[in-house]
């Protein structure tokens, strides 16, 4: 086969493989980005739009650094398995989440609205040793966090409450 016909073969191949790829990218990455529900914010998004250097913002960074998102999701689906978790999540809730904390596995329970469940003191005890409040829990102890980190993390967790306007969703 001559060099030219090899070239002739490879070009359509590269174009075809790239084209199919970019059609998929357009449909599942680009178009959703421009969908209007993704561009709007609601009251929950405003609550979660923490000012840099607020305790909640710093707490969120601790949440990320320690990999809490590895075991805890933050989205509530309109399905039976999520029925007692609180208001169902909508795209607008996440407008300012960066990075998003949706998660993949519920090794621990969903934390979307964890701020409605416990108080600060409970979190202090639980983070220090989860088995003190939940015997048999498999969550790691976070007793190595500095006091500052612990308090920031608790401030973040307590902020995860639905805005009154979205309560009955």
């Amino acid at each position: 086969m001559s060099g030219q016909s090899k070239e002739r073969f490879m070009k359509p191949f590269i174009i075809g493989a790239s084209l199919l790829f970019f059609i998929g990218v357009t449909a599942t990455v680009v178009l959703p980005f421009y969908d209007e529900v993704m561009q709007r914010e609601n009251a929950n998004a405003k609550i979660k739009n923490y000012a840099i250097d607020s305790p909640e913002y710093r707490g969120r960074q601790v949440y990320i650094r320690e990999g809490c998102h590895v075991c805890h999701t933050q989205f509530v689906r309109p399905v039976k398995a999520d029925s007692s978790l609180g208001p169902v999540s909508v795209p607008e809730d996440y407008r300012h989440d960066y990075p998003h904390m949706l998660g993949t596995v519920r090794t621990g329970s969903d934390l979307t609205w964890v701020g409605t469940r416990w108080n600060e003191q409970w979190h202090r005890v639980h983070l220090n040793n989860p088995r003190q409040v939940f015997p048999g829990s498999t969550m790691p102890r976070y007793d190595y966090l500095s006091d500052q980190d612990t308090e920031d993390l608790i401030a973040y967790l307590m902020s995860l409450k639905p805005a009154p306007s979205t309560e009955g969703r």
């Binding site: 980005f33 529900v37 990999g67 399905v79 398995a81 469940r117 088995r131 829990s137």
Partner: protein
Amino acid sequence: MTAITHNENRVVRLFFYSSITWLLIGMTIGLILAIKYVWPDFLVWGEFLQKYLSYGRIRPAHTHILLFGWLSMAYAGGLFYIIPQLTRKSLEHPRLAHAIGILWNIYIVAALVTLCMGYTTTIEYAEPTWPLDVYFIVLVAGAAYICFKTIAKRNESQLYVSLWYFMGSLIWLPFLYIIGNIVTYFITGVPQALAGWFYGHNVIGLWFTTVGVGFIYYLLPLLSKNPLYSHKLSLIGFWTIATFYVWNGPHHLQNGPIPAWLMKAGVIPSVLLIIPVWTVLANVFGTMKGKWHRISESVPLKFVVTGAIFYLITCLQGPFQSLMQPSAILKFTNWIIGHAHMALFGAFSFVLFALFYHTLPSLTGRKIYSEALMNWHFWLSIIGFLIFAFTTWTAGVMQGFAWTEGKQYGVPFLEVVVSLQPFAIARAIGGVLMFIGQIVFAYNVRRSIKDGQLLSVEEKSTSTA
């Protein structure tokens, strides 16, 4: 086919031996994670270990090392070995390829250290921070360039089907990686999750799957000594996988905060994936026709065929669990962990084990040290994996249904966690068997390099064929 040159040999061995090292390290971390499920205070001995080996930090290290240290380095080594074979053209720029191998190892070390220190983007399978991403994209682009240049200058007029799969994967991987690691850096909220899952699913579908299928198509005719059943079927498989796989990302947010049209756009192509999978399996069974007895004689063939069957099961399971109703039960549970391990360990790691056993003699000039240890590797891997898989699947179904009964947080949720303890123990036992299997593998490879029986001249000329 052409004998492998000295330079290629050096490159392929660097990639292969590095990948085996990362396999052992990645699986060690996996085992630590499995033990932490049973005994959360495992390794919490002093603040240093507690902090840097905390579950949330090492879990991404486990996935990253196995995806990019083990599988991807082994894949790159495989590409550098097979492409010259199929094109009858020596590898272009072998020195550059060697440098990429060294820099790749540095990348994995850097990723491991930064992840344990808590630097993470949180995007699954794209956790290392952006300077590392840029560094890695350069390596991948370099490897792709070497492969394409070799194929473009080929001496063989026929383009064997494996090359189609390799070329597609090498076009897609750099783009994928950029979308998952760089694009996600600039966007927020649900669109970021969608870009992240586009990458997360397609790095499996358009890199690990497509290169792995290319390896199956390369190995199967050689090991079974039958020609490939159908060239046309394999090409149908290629173009259907290229068409449907890219659309799979949104099913990771099934029932979640995304518009309904997007759920459909994610699920329908997931179901259509049955077509490319079936073409691969039809080809595997067609090629094996009349040669099934060879499975008892050849451990590599055993690995390839088992890997192909696990690939089929993964891709029957995947579309099923992406549907709205099954997803409502199975999503977020242990089931998904079993599913992910089946694709990456049961299917494509098995194909790689076959590739290693098949190619090592021509790389080292020596036979594999021990046939018995190869069998031990196979049986420990498969039994360990089946224990692991069935416990995670069963535990996942139990979790999913318990949650539908309202056990969603607090003490009721804890009850579910506690009731899963026997499964966590069984899962760790399965993991130990899988891990012992890999130690046997690494030991056998090590001994083969040093003490394997030398190939005779005649065997040397056929070993590369």
